[in-house]
Symmetry: D2
């Protein structure tokens, strides 16, 4: 049993962490903080947790975070970079579900996130928490930067192609669709039911913060060299789920189905579907799985990869728990064996 704390538990990644951690056999939940909701029982805000989570939100400055083995930051961007260092200094390991430690190039991060980085020295130490790429580094990490939702679906879909050098790296396209929970639980007009339901739209076409994160990740596995990527995010009227439709020009022939199956043969949370499959997002709803299919339409020179995850699980809280399992030497699947909810 390890002691676990959560900083910032009033958003969707917070409640999802609680759903997973409350049933995790190796975890004792010690504290969950919220400045605005101090004293409120967690189950009052999230009635789904009635009977499962008895904690109240505590004030960040009173919470026994230093007594935890690990603390998750489920906070807006810019919080963990301020607060993680104190915890690390007293031996607490940290997983940040926001973006503070994802981008190694500080100038790049500051450009996209519009603020000065408070802990550049920690960025260098932070391990990017995509287990399918960085498992051994995660094991020993003090500080893990949990990947974004779009980057998880997109990188897992491109990975076998980029690692193997089969595709033209200068012209990748990622057309990605997200459920509305990806926009978080903030009260914003654009996320209202009557605005988002029965509607579909692209956004951020000129540039989205997840673009440099994906490019950095792909460049690494490509063995350096720039990656030319066009990334277009969209909002689709469903609560959970990301569907990445990825396009790559073939540079070298291969058995692409076999390439994907081999690459992920021993990955517990990546499922390569049979040829000619079309994964739907509900096939991963509420579970820590990425399902992938690879197509070559009309036997042409373009590959189409379809990659789906639940943005709140494999795209956020589930992956964070997976990283925790790795960091503490638990079986990687502990507490993550939920079957997707369908229908």
């Amino acid at each position: 049993m390890i002691k676990v704390g959560i900083v910032g538990g009033t958003g969707y990644t917070g409640v999802e962490l609680l759903r997973l951690l409350a049933r995790h056999p190796e975890v004792e939940l010690l504290a969950i903080t919220s400045r605005g909701e101090t004293g409120t029982p967690v189950a009052e805000m999230f009635p789904s947790l009635r009977g499962s989570v008895d904690l109240k939100f505590s004030d960040p400055k009173d919470a026994p975070l230093a007594a935890c083995d690990i603390v998750f930051f489920a906070t807006p961007n810019g919080v963990a970079m301020q607060q993680a260092v104190q915890l690390l200094d007293v031996g607490v390991r940290v997983v940040d579900l926001a973006a503070d430690f994802r981008i190694q190039n500080i100038a790049e991060w500051e450009k996209w996130y519009g603020m000065k980085h408070a802990s550049p020295e920690l960025v260098a130490e932070a391990v990017y928490g995509l287990p399918e790429v960085n498992r051994s580094a995660i094991r020993h990490a003090r500080l893990v930067a949990n990947p974004g939702c779009y980057p998880t679906a997109t990188q897992l879909g491109f990975l076998p192609l980029v690692e193997s050098g089969c595709v033209d790296l200068s012209s990748l396209i990622a057309d990605v669709k997200s459920g509305i929970s990806g926009a978080g639980r903030k009260a914003e007009t654009s996320s209202l039911f009557s605005e988002a339901a029965d509607n579909f739209k692209a956004y951020g076409v000129s540039g989205h913060r997840h673009l440099p994160e994906i490019q950095q990740g792909l460049a690494r596995v490509a063995g350096g060299g720039a990656v030319g990527l066009t990334f277009v995010p969209h909002l689709t009227p469903m609560i959970r789920g990301i569907h990445a439709t990825l396009y790559a020009r073939i540079a070298r022939e291969a058995d692409f189905q076999q390439l994907f199956e081999s690459r992920y043969a021993y990955e517990p949370f990546v499922d390569v579907l049979p040829s000619n499959s079309h994964p739907d997002t509900r096939s991963v709803r509420a579970a820590n799985i990425c399902r992938i299919a690879v197509h070559r339409p009309q036997e042409g020179n373009v590959l189409v990869v379809l990659s789906v995850i639940d943005n709140l699980v494999k795209g956020a809280a589930g992956q964070a728990v997976q990283n925790m399992n790795i960091m503490f030497g638990f079986d990687e699947c502990t507490g993550l064996s939920q079957i997707p909810v369908l229908p």
Copy 2:
């Protein structure tokens, strides 16, 4: 470990049974049958089960159902009444998730279901599987009639009032709203997305099959005497969930909040909310829970009870597993501790 079979696994109650049973620590899934899909891997039809269920659908006549300890019928009405008897004869216990054994009055059943009953003698033996009323009878039952979804939400909401004699039994009203999965997985025009989405409607106002089931259940706990009930079902554009809004005229004063809390104090799957609460259906999504709130608007003489369940879990598959747990002496919560999925 007990051996379990499912007859008719291609509908929503079938896949939901599989989701629950595949992770149940006391269960070995032996067979799941489907005449139309014989030989198809279950996970091909329901990709959410990939990696969790390796079975193929088998032909009903070849399946090792007689070797099971218990068989669930997740079939249309009229199937279990034909086939249950052979299984019972060889010592297999049976839970029918359809309506064949729910109504004790055979003539009444035949009127509402429009067919001749094939096993009237079994109806008398069958135990109505609402654990909150019939727990001890269920323990020893060979044959359990799993309640309907509307009847579960409605009876649990009315139960404390009717048992205690606090309300006028002649003028109960149940205005109940169901998600579309309640209509099943049959390809019918009225259940199409483009017909059911962004739409709300009542149906079956002149009479619905769940009316006699609810009346029978309430009459029993009322100590006999007819129950006057107006029952209006509606379809609401969501996948899962039932919300019963129940109206009863007060016949005798009481502390109604206390009445509900006492009645369900030891029920693991009924959660009475604090005064002035409004349960939402998502607070029970994908979990075996009924959440209830009781109101007395404007301190008048009408009580309003709000009762929510997931129609596929506490309203079908979850309740069936709960019944199985009781029948075989397992802890009643075994395999049913999933936390609701929110958002």
Copy 3:
């Protein structure tokens, strides 16, 4: 051609007024105001209006409202009661789509709306804008209080029964379901897509502001005497639409189908469906129609009336235009002949 102004055009009733008025052959749109959006082209905020509405939002104090023949207030409660008087004083007629002038009893209004009324003298003059009841008074009104959405659906459903004295007035029940646009376009957590989608819930069971409005309306047509009404509003995951399910105990026998058909025979915007019908909300989507069906389940002593409207049209903007047509002597259907959008 009359000159028309709108105060407060950034909400859903505002954009719906614009949709209707922009195609109204007798209307010239002179001004639409918004303090927060002064200078923004209306079609920038609502791209659906591109090519149809060229106005910009103007500052309320600069807008040529006094030059209008009629001004619609599509503002939050409490605005029109401050500003209507200046317009009325210079001969502008006013329709308030908020609640400021709906309740004749000032004390009652102040209790439910939690503020002091600024123009109690205007309340007495204001005409409640339900044309099916008050058509002739509306014709000559300077100030019309446009009814709420729940009250419109509920009153139209109960009207024939209450007017005719066929039902017990002490035990009426209105179980009403609204699409989420009824909550407006304010950025509130509870109206977020990820909170409201795939979910159903009641709210305000202990008391909702539309209760006294409905009671006042029914009491008037009942010829005085109190009306006992239990009113439970619910939110259903669709954008537009209200479905009222109304329950009344029969006090005197009648041909109820005939009663409804006669009552509404000459009403252009109320459609009584044939016996045994179940109106769905999409059958009135985006149109100024109320469709009603009346049932007598199991030939018992309870009548069930189903009444559907689009909350933004017959429940708000459409009814306001209908009132304008009456006030200015236009054919009542002018500009309101849109066919519902289905699917």
Copy 4:
């Protein structure tokens, strides 16, 4: 006034044609046929039409189609090619909303549609009904092949780029998302609410029938030469709407915003949005408009065009009425000035 008939009116394009034609000032609806629903009032099947359409479905062989000036085929593929010739022979003009006359290459058509073509000679005569390309030919056409929904959104988005020769024609990508009504009103499991809601998926990645239609259309305006197109259709959980996200590599520099604005300056139903816009599908809901935005992310060498239509209007029935207006010399906007329904 012209006399109009509809063959096959029980699907979504049928009811949408009725919605538009019933208010068209130059149209008299003479007949609507349905083999299966002969004798049923149209408004009984589609209650949205109560009070607006008094016709009953008539048997195809009895209907006065030969007395019509124009007949719309809103039938499945393969019907119009059998029946159009008789009507054309007696001077009736025909618009086919299905695919029978869209593809000039008969062998290609037969491959994709899996049947032998019954009227290859008519294919040569048929005019492809995309007014923005073929307006003058449509004016004189006896037989118009109304474009598919995906092809309309995709061609209008690519048109300025392909006509001007600014982009590499060998590597076009169309990632297109459709609402579920695009699958029609047939009762199929995959179109059920509980299958399609809260879900997103691609389909037909290996090849979809609209691929050759789009390629044919783009090749024509490119001045011949093959067009290399990867086309991936998706289903998104909304009723109406298509969102095409189009990718093209720049071959020659230009002011792309200006290019689009010039191309569509005089098109009444194509709206080019300002730079950096993201059209949402609801901004065209229920209206005959295509809205387009063009982007050049990160000032790179890939253009991204966003193109939205309502699949049932500009993607089907609305475009058919637009074609009718052209064919009969009416103002092209007659009966098509509905403002989109938002929210």
